[in-house]
Symmetry: none
Subunit: 221 residues, 4 copies
DNA sequence: GATGAATGAGCATTCATTCAT
DNA sequence: CATGAATGAATGCTCATTCAT
C-alpha cells in the first residue's frame, strides 16, 4: 500500500506525522503478514517504511504495541463488516448469507490484515490491550448474539452448542479465506462466496430440521 | 503416536539414547505448541527435556530439523487416519462422515501436535524436508483424490472447485478443532463430531442437488 | 541559591525565557541529584521541566554543559560560603569552626546541589569548563591558603600534609553531610554541627601539640 | 590483576571456568572503578576481559548482577577487616585506632574495589541483592555495635548520636581514602594513617570529656 | 553419548542531538 | 523562542550453534 492510497482516518489532508505513522503501520503489516510477528525484525519494518529507528519508536512504544495496534484495527474491521451485514438483512437466511459474504469480502479487501489475524490469534503481544479488545468484543458481540438468540428462540436457527454453531457458520469460509490470503485460491471468488454461504446456511438449516421433533431429516445416531 | 509406530526401530525396550531423543521431541512439541516455533528457544526445550545443550544437538541437527521432524510426524498421522477412515467406508456418506470424524479424533488424541500443525502451516523450517513431505503427500493424496474423483464422476458428490470442496468438507471441523486444541471447546465432543460431520455431508449433498440439472434446490437469488 | 545571586542579570522580574531556563536547571538538578548524571536522560529533564526538547537545546548546548553549569554554581557557592566564614573569624579556632559550620549550612541549604557535587566529583563533563573552574579555584583557594599558611607558620595550626589536614578538617562534616543529603541523618542539625566542628578543631589542636617539641601529648605506641 | 595472582576462593587449582569468571570480575571492577557503573559498557568489560559477550552472560545474569557481585565482595571485605581489627584490640583506644587503620589498609590493598564502593553507595543495581546485603550488615554490625555499646556505657566513649559518631570515627579516614583511590594522595601512607587515627581517637576522647559532668574541656555554647 | 562453557551475529530499544515548521 | 518529529549510533542482552573435556 503506497502512502497516497493509505486509509486516512483523520482528514482529507493528513499531517506529515500521520502519514509517517501510517507508512510504518503499513510496513509492519506487510512484514507481520508475510513472516509472522516473531520472525519480523524492527529492521525489516524500518527498511520497508523508509523510516529511521527513532522515528518508529517515536510513534509506537514497542514492536508489541505496533502489532497490537494492527490487531485491534483488524478485529474492529471484521466486527464492523459483520454487524453491518447483519443489520442490513431482513430474513434469517439473508443474515447468515450476508455474514459469510461480509467476512469473505473483508478478507479479500484486507488480505494482509486478515493473514495477520489468522496467524496471530491469541498472541502474547495482545496482553497490554486486552482491556480494549474485550470492550470491543462486548459491544459488538452482544448485538450479534441478540440477533442469533432471537432467531434460535423463534425456531429459525438450530439450538446447538455455540462453538459448534460458529464452526459451521464460519468454518468453511475461514478455511477458504486462509487459502485466499496465502494466494492459493484458484477459484472464482464470487462463485466461492455463494457456495460457502450455501454451505453455512444449508448446514444450519438441516440441523434445525433434524433437531425438530418429527423433523423429516432426523438422523440415526 | 501409537506405541506401535514409535521411533523405536530396534527393540521393544527403547535404549537410553532413544528415550532421551523422545524426551527432547516431547519437550520441543510442548514448547512449539504453546509458544510457536520462533518464540521457543532451545533453552526452553533444554530445560523442559532435562537435557544438556550438547545432548540436543547430538540428536538433532538444528532447531529447524527438530520442528520439521515433529511436523512430518503430524502430517503422517493426519493422513494415515484420514486414509484409513476412507478405506473402511462403504458408502459415500460414510466416507465423508468418517473423514471428518477421523480428523477430529486425531486432533483430540494429539492436541499438541495438532496445535503445532495449525500454527506452523507452510513454515520456513520445512524447506529441508520439502522432498519427503511432497513424497508423502503424493502417495496419500493420490489415493484420496482417486476416491473423490470416482464419486464426483459417479454423481454422488458435487463437481465444485477443489479448494471450496475442501473448505466445506474440513472447514467446520477445523474451526472447531482450533478451539479444541486451545482448550476452549465446551461442547460434548461426540455430539460436536456428529454435528460437524452432518454439516459437511449435508452441505456437499445440497450443492450436488443444486448443481444437478433440475435439482429441486436449484438456487439463484 | 539565594535570591540575590540568582542568574537574573537584567531586571528584578525575570523574563519568560529566563524563567524557562531556570525551570530546566531546577529539573536537571533534581534528576542529577537523584539518579546521577549518566542515569539521567534528557527526556527525564524535559518531562520534569515541562519543556520541549528543542527548548532545552535552545538554552543549553548539551547535557554535559547543563551539568557543568550546575557544578560550577555549586562550587561557587561552597567556596563563597567558606571564604565569608573565614573572613568573619577573628581567632583561629573561630575560623576552623566557622569553616565546618559554613560547609554544613551550605549543604543543608542546598541539599540537591550538594548531593550532585558529592556524586560528580571529577566527572568527565567538566572538561569544557575546566578553565573557568581552575580560575575560580585559584582566586578562592589562594585566599584560603594564605589564611592557613599564616596560622601554620604562626604555630596555631599543625604543619601536616595538606591532604591529611583537609581530611581532618572536612572529613567528619563531609561524612555527615553525605548522610544529610541522602535524607538519612536523624540527629539534631545544630548539635551535630557543634560536635563536628569540635572534632575538627580538637583534632587539629591535638596534632599541633603532639608535633610541638616537648608537646605533652607526644604519641608513639 | 592478572589471572595468576587473582584471589582464588575455591582451590589451589581453579577450573578454567572459575578463572574466566574471575577475569570478567576483574575487568568489570577495573571499568566500574574508572568510569562508573553507567558509563561502563559491556563491550568495555568484554574487551578488557578478553571474553565473548556470551561468556559474560553465561557467568553473570546482567550488568547489574555483575556490579552487585563486586559490591557485596567489597562490603564483605571492609566488614571483615574492621571486625578483625576490633577483635584483636585490648583497650578502647587500640580499638578505635585499629578500626581506622584497618579501613585505610583495606582501601590501600583494594583501591579499585574501594573506589567502586565510594562511587556506588546506594546504587539501584543493589536492589536484587538487598536481602543478602542486609543479612551481612546485621551479622557484622551487631558484633561491632555491641563493642561500642559496652564502651559507651562504661564511660570510655562519648554518648553522641550514632551518625555523628560514625562521621567523627570514619570521616577523616574516608576523606583521605577518596583521594587515595583517585591516586591523588601525596602523603606517606603510614604517617597519614597515624594522624587520621589520632584525629578519630582524640575527637571522640574530647567529646567524652566535654560531655562528662565537670569535664575540664566543657565547651562554652 | 553427555556436559556446559564459549562464541558472536543479531535484536529490540534508548537516547543525545538536529532540524523543519 | 517553542515544538516535537526525525535521526542513527550505541547498548544490553538473546540465542542458535560449536567444541573441548
Amino acid at each position: 500500500m503506497t502512502p497516497s492510497d493509505a486509509p486516512d482516518h483523520f482528514s482529507r489532508r493528513a499531517t506529515a506525522s500521520q502519514r509517517r505513522r501510517q507508512q510504518i503501520l503499513d510496513a509492519a503489516l506487510e512484514c507481520f503478514a508475510g513472516r509472522g510477528f516473531a520472525a519480523t525484525t524492527m529492521a525489516d519494518i524500518r527498511k520497508l517504511a523508509g523510516a529511521s529507528t527513532g522515528s518508529i519508536y517515536h510513534h509506537f512504544k514497542s514492536k508489541e504495541q505496533l502489532a497490537a495496534q494492527l490487531y485491534l484495527e483488524g478485529v474492529r474491521g471484521t466486527q464492523a463488516q459483520g454487524l453491518q451485514a447483519l443489520m442490513r438483512s431482513e430474513t434469517t437466511e439473508q443474515g447468515i448469507r450476508a455474514l459469510v459474504g461480509a467476512y469473505l469480502d473483508y478478507v479479500r479487501a484486507e488480505p494482509k490484515l486478515s493473514a495477520f489475524l489468522f496467524a496471530m490469534r491469541h498472541a502474547d503481544f495482545m496482553e497490554p490491550v486486552e482491556g480494549e479488545l474485550s470492550r470491543m468484543n462486548r459491544t459488538a458481540l452482544e448485538t450479534a448474539a441478540e440477533w442469533f438468540r432471537a432467531r434460535i428462540t423463534g425456531g429459525e436457527l438450530p439450538e446447538i452448542a455455540p462453538d459448534v454453531f460458529r464452526a459451521i457458520l464460519y468454518g468453511p469460509a475461514a478455511h477458504f479465506a486462509r487459502r485466499l490470503v496465502a494466494g492459493q485460491a484458484e477459484t472464482d471468488f464470487e462463485q466461492a462466496k455463494r457456495d460457502l454461504a450455501d454451505a453455512a446456511w444449508y448446514s444450519l438449516h438441516h440441523l434445525l430440521e433434524r433437531r425438530r421433533p418429527g423433523g423429516r431429516l432426523d438422523h440415526d445416531s
